[in-house]
Amino acid sequence: MYRYDQYDQAMVDARVAEFRDQVERRLSGAMTEDQFKPLRLMNGLYLQLHAYMLRVAIPYGTLSSTQMRALADIARKYDKGYAHFTTRQNVQYNWIQLKETPDLLADLARVEMHAIQTSGNCIRNISSDQFAGVAGDEVIDPRPHAELLRQWSSFHPEFSFLPRKFKIAVIASDADRAAMRLHDIGIRIVRRDGVLGAQVFAGGGMGRTPMIAPEIRDFVPEDQMVSYCEAILRVYNRHGRRDNKYKARIKILVHETGADKFREEVEAEFAHMQPLDLDPPRAELARIKAFFAPPEYAAIEDGYDTSDPDFRIWAETNLFPHKQPGYAAATISLKPVGGIPGDASAEQMDIVADLAARYSMDEVRVTHAQNLVLPNVRQDRLYALWQELDAAGLAPANLDRASDIIACPGLDYCSLANARSIPIAQEVAKRLAPIEREVGALQIKMSGCINACGHHHAGHIGVLGVDKKGVESYQLLLGGSAAEDVSLAKITGPGFDERGIVDAIETVTSVYRDAREGDERFLDTYRRLGMAPFKEALYDKA
C-alpha cells in the first residue's frame, strides 16, 4: 500500500487547516453560503435534503485495516453509525454537521486520507480495478500509475475550475472491472514491445448523454502519461462547453469536435508540452511501485474443503481467482436482500477491518459495484473467514447476481433525485433472490434521476426513475455493459409505476430463462435476440 511521506502529509494537513479557516469564516458570517459553496465542494461537502453529506476519497479503492477502522470511527463519531460506499470506490457520510467537518478531516488526515477533490469541477478521485495486484490477467498492478495521477491532479492550479467534473479510471488488463470506457479519461496500462505505457481513451461517461470513450492514443510510454493527460485536460479546459452545464463534460466536446480532430488538438498540445519537463522522472514511478510490491505469500497449493453446502455456494459466487497459487480474492457483498446497496454499519466496518488484518494481509478494496473485497485470502482459511462473515451478516452469496444491485441514494437522500431508487432495488432483490442462482450473471443498475449515478445505462438491466407529472415513474433499459464488452442500454418503451417496474424486471428475466441457449448470460441472450421478444412480453399483453 502507498504510504504518505512528509510532502504528502504536509499537503493534506494544509488542506485541513485551510478548510478549518473557511468553516470559521462561514460560521461567523464573514462569508455567505454563496461564497462558501465552491470551497466546501472542493472538500467533498454537499448540502443534501436533510444534512450535509461528506464524500471521502478512497484512491483506487484500496484501504488498510487502520483506515477502515478510522472510517468506522468517523461513522460513529460524526454520523449516525453508517457509511455508504459509492460507485466511484469512495465512501459517503450522510448526516454531517458543518461545524464538525474540520475535526473529521483532521481525523482522516491522521490515517493518510482526505476528501480533496471529491466534488466540484475538478479532477476527481482516480478509480481502478478492485482486483489490481492480485488478478492473473493484468499486465502489471495499475495502482502505481493511478497514484502518480492522484498526485499530479491534486491541487492542480490550471485544472481546478474545469467546465465540469472530471473522472479518470486506470486498469491494466483486457477485462474491464472498473467501467474504464465510461470515464472522462480511461487508461489501460499495456506492454508493447517490452515497454509499459498507457492506451488512452477519452470522452466516455454516463449522465444524461451516455457515451463510450473512443481511443485517443494507442500507446503513450508510461513516463509521458502525465503530460499526455495534461494535454487532454488543457484542450478540455480551453474548449469544453461552458454555456450549458448539461453539455459541459468532455464527452460532449469529443463528440461535437469528432474524435479525430480532438486527437489532433491533444497531440499538438502534447508536442508543445514535451520541452516543459512536466513528467515525473522514472525514479518517482519506481518509488511508488515499491509500495505496491507483492506481499510475502506462503508457498501453498490451490484447494479447499467445500463440504459445507452454504459455504460452497458463497465460494462459487463470491471468489475471484488470485494470481498466487493457494490464495483467493473474496468479495464481501454489501447487498443483503432488503438492505441498502453499499451501506455498511460502523460495526460491520470494524469487523471487515479486523478480518482484513487477520485474513487478507491488512488490505481491503472497494468495488465500483459498491461491494468490498479481501484481496489476499489463503484458500485454506476461506471457510473460517466465511463463518465469521456469515455471523456478521456479511456473507450474501450474490456477487454479479440479480440481488447485487447498484443503486444511487435516490429521493430518500439526494436533492437532485426525481424518484426513489433504494426501495425499488430492495423490492427487485426480494423478488429475484429466490431464482438468482438459476438466472446467473445479471447486473441490475438503478438511478433515481437522469444524472445516472446508479449507472443505469451500463446495466444488463437498467432502471431510471423519472418524475412524470408529480408521480414517480420508472423506465426500463436493457443491454448495457460497463465491462470490456461495453455497451449502452436501450429503453424498452413506456415507463412503469413502482410495482409495475418490479413485475417488468421479472418479466424480462423470464423471457431470458425461456430463450437462453447454453450458458448464455442475460446480456448475451438480449444481444442475440434483440429488443423485440422482451418488448412483446412487456407491452403486448392485451
Partner: protein, 141 residues
Amino acid sequence: MSSWPRYRDDAAANEPAVTLDAFLDQPEAVAVRIEPDADVRVLVPHLSRLKLIEIAFPAYRDGRGYSAARILREAGYTGELRAEGDVLLDQIAFMRRCGFDSFAPAVPLDAKAAEAAMARWPHAYQRAADAQPPIWALRHG
C-alpha cells in the same frame, strides 16, 4: 488602472488595455485585455512589445484564464500578467502558479487574508508556470 496585490518590481503599465481586435490593429499598443473565449496563442508573435496582458474572469467558475496564463508564460512572455474580475481569495495561489503576477479583483481582497492564502501551500505536486519545484523533484533531487 492599478492592481493589487502585485508581485512585480517594475512600474505598472500606464497604457489602457485594449481589446484583442484593437491590439492586433494597433502596432503601437502595449497592453491588451483577453476575454475567456479568446485564443491567446494569436498573441505569441507580439509578446515582445507587450507590457501588460489582462485576463478577464467575468465569473470565478470560468477557468479558461488559467490555461491562457500558462500558455503565455510557456511562450516566453515576461511582462505583467493580470487577473481581473471575479478573482477570489481562495484562487490567487493557483493563479500565481499559472503565471499571474498581478490581480485586479472586482471586490478588493483583505490584505492579511491574501497573505495567508498565498502562504497556505507548503509544496506543489506538479510543475506549472512558477519557479516552485514539484514534490517529485524534491524527492529525487
